[in-house]
């Protein structure tokens, strides 16, 4: 079976983001961009399933501007067989992304779609669930363990109460949590090989997906700053300060 993997490009997780003073956005010019960390985990899981013989082909998918090619080459160097680039200059909200994935599913007929549980830029945590709803298939979100056998996925999910295990018939959508795996590093020879791998470019407009912007962002602000704290010299002083505040 084929596995489709969502592979979003985001501002690198180590970058301390700055809000523009006029409230129109965050500064992204000249800022380091990387694969969304959860998507690296999704790709790693797909590659492991291929190495186990469960999957035959792993396809990375990204939606975004023309310069995503280098980003997709990273996914190919990590081990994906090929890439699909849906080209649009506009920012895409989760429901639109889910509709794009549904079109690709109709074309590619994958047995499994693996996405990250959230992108670290919009922190929405929606696309996988929305895709599963539109596709009318099972979802297994926040996965920390995946076993596939007999056309079913047994997935351990990280939920607030602990670990929940569910069973989902394939095809299905899985979204990855941090502890699912440790993504591999890209090796130099693989970067060379990735140059020969195919990237299928599709114009967003040709998919017949209605861009869906029910949500308008009207303002960006920096979070409220906490007032400067004080350093205490020892345990007794700390306890006294907390008692004074009525916290102990």
């Amino acid at each position: 079976m084929k596995i489709l993997v969502g592979y979003k490009r985001v501002v690198d997780y180590n970058v301390r983001i700055q809000v523009k003073p006029d409230g129109t956005g965050v500064v992204t010019d000249g800022v380091k961009l990387s694969a969304n960390p959860f998507d690296d985990i999704a790709l790693e899981e797909a590659l492991r399933l291929r190495e186990k013989g469960v999957a035959t082909e792993v396809i990375v998918v990204a939606i975004g501007p023309a310069d995503l090619t280098a980003h997709l080459r990273n996914g190919l160097a990590m081990g994906a067989n090929r890439a699909i680039h849906v080209v649009t200059a506009e920012a895409v909200q989760p429901l639109t992304a889910a509709r794009v994935f549904l079109k690709l599913i109709e074309k590619e007929q994958p047995g499994l779609v693996i996405l990250g549980k959230q992108a670290i830029d919009d922190d929405a945590n929606q696309t996988g669930q929305m895709l599963a709803a539109l596709w009318d298939r099972p979802q297994a979100t926040f996965a920390s363990q995946v076993e596939i056998a007999d056309g079913k996925a047994k997935v351990t999910r990280e939920v607030d109460a602990g670990l929940e295990v569910i069973e989902a018939e394939l095809p299905a959508v899985i979204t990855t949590d941090l502890r699912l795996n440790e993504p591999r590093f890209i090796k130099l020879p693989d970067i060379m090989k990735a140059k020969a791998k195919p990237i299928d470019t599709i114009e967003f407009g040709s998919l017949g997906v209605e861009a869906h912007d029910h949500l308008k962002t009207t303002h960006y602000a920096a979070p409220a700053k906490r007032s400067k704290g004080v350093m205490v010299k020892d345990a007794a002083e700390l306890v006294a300060a907390l008692k004074q505040k009525g916290l102990l």
């Binding site: 922190d123 979100t141 109460a161 602990g162 569910i166």
Partner: protein, 313 residues
């Protein structure tokens, strides 16, 4: 006028406090009605708890054996049907809500507002992005129902009055899928206060050093009646189970007192505690980023300082 449906979160026959927090957000919309929907195999006791929450107009129950476990694929079609006639659908932004709400939104063909931290107007909300390093104001289209998840840490739980709202059983005619099945829930057993609703939280990080050493954190937390949390580093190192993780990808909490012990304070961790009342940091590295947001900081070896703290109590 707005009519809001709040989806109740519950576990083991008990209502989760995240539900009363979502009711607080609904009250901020100044709705003409706030109804709570309880989906369960046995909703009666849960509904009775929900009916006591201040501001709730009605509690609606859907009792079906399929609702014994919160499977998004099973619950979403029922919630989407029950949402008819409501202007807003509010769901707690817990793993339960994050799992089910987007599925409902997609069935309704609408966008979702994730992690609402404030209500500016009936269709205008504030929410965090980039791990809480920016706060955006978003406007939802007034011609469509609003599906939103409510960030628990931003809202106090609505009170419990003497009055009880009426409870009505609802029959929902929805075909439910059988392609997704519950197998089991492995719960971390703990007598300590619940991490997400506790007024005091003590968290340990990589600096604690080992699973065995974490006992010193548990002991101290028990002494002051606090819940216990952890940084991602401590979870990844196997010191504690993952449901204890506090941060962007773990739990977002807002206790009155948060004590970070042996935690350096990566951006992703700070996201989870920014709204805490008082933050205390104990770390041997005086340059650790945690001290930038701590109200009270103490530099030193935690294995020496914690016994001293216990002594001083």
């Amino acid at each position: 006028m707005s009519k809001i449906l709040v989806i109740a979160e519950h576990l083991g026959g008990k209502l989760n406090s995240s539900t009363a927090r979502a009711v607080s957000a609904a009250a901020a919309v100044k709705a003409e009605a706030i109804d709570v929907l309880v989906l369960s195999d046995a909703p009666d006791a849960i509904a009775a708890e929900a009916a006591k929450i201040d501001g709730v107009s009605r509690v609606l129950t859907v009792a079906r054996p399929e609702n014994a476990h919160p499977l998004a694929a099973v619950l979403a079609p029922q919630i989407a049907k029950a949402a008819a006639g409501y202007s807003h659908l509010f769901v707690p932004s817990t793993t339960f809500g994050k799992d089910v709400a987007p599925r409902v939104a997609a069935l309704l063909g609408v966008a979702q507002v994730s992690d609402v931290m404030s209500v500016e107007a009936a269709h205008t909300f504030k929410r965090p992005i980039y791990a809480g390093n920016a706060i955006i104001t978003v406007e939802a289209d007034a011609n469509h129902p609003v599906v939103a998840t409510i960030r628990s840490a931003s809202w106090a739980a609505a009170g419990n009055g003497a009055d009880s709202a009426p409870i009505e059983a609802l029959t929902i005619d929805a075909a439910l899928p059988t392609h997704t099945r519950f197998v089991e829930l492995k719960q971390g057993s703990s007598d300590r206060p619940d991490l997400q609703s506790a007024s005091k939280v003590v968290s340990g990080g990589r600096g604690v050093g080992s699973k065995e050493n974490f006992d010193i954190i548990y002991k101290f937390a028990d002494r002051i009646g606090a819940a216990v949390g952890a940084s991602r580093a401590a979870v990844d190192a196997g010191y504690v189970p993952s449901e204890m993780q506090v941060g962007q990808t773990g739990k977002i909490i807002a206790p009155e007192l948060y004590m970070a012990i042996g935690i350096s304070g990566a951006i992703q961790h700070l996201t989870g505690i920014k709204d805490a009342g008082t933050i205390v940091a104990i770390n041997k590295d005086g340059e650790a980023p945690i001290f930038e947001i701590a109200d009270l900081g103490l530099v030193g070896d935690l294995f020496k300082l914690i016994p001293e703290l216990e002594q001083a109590l």
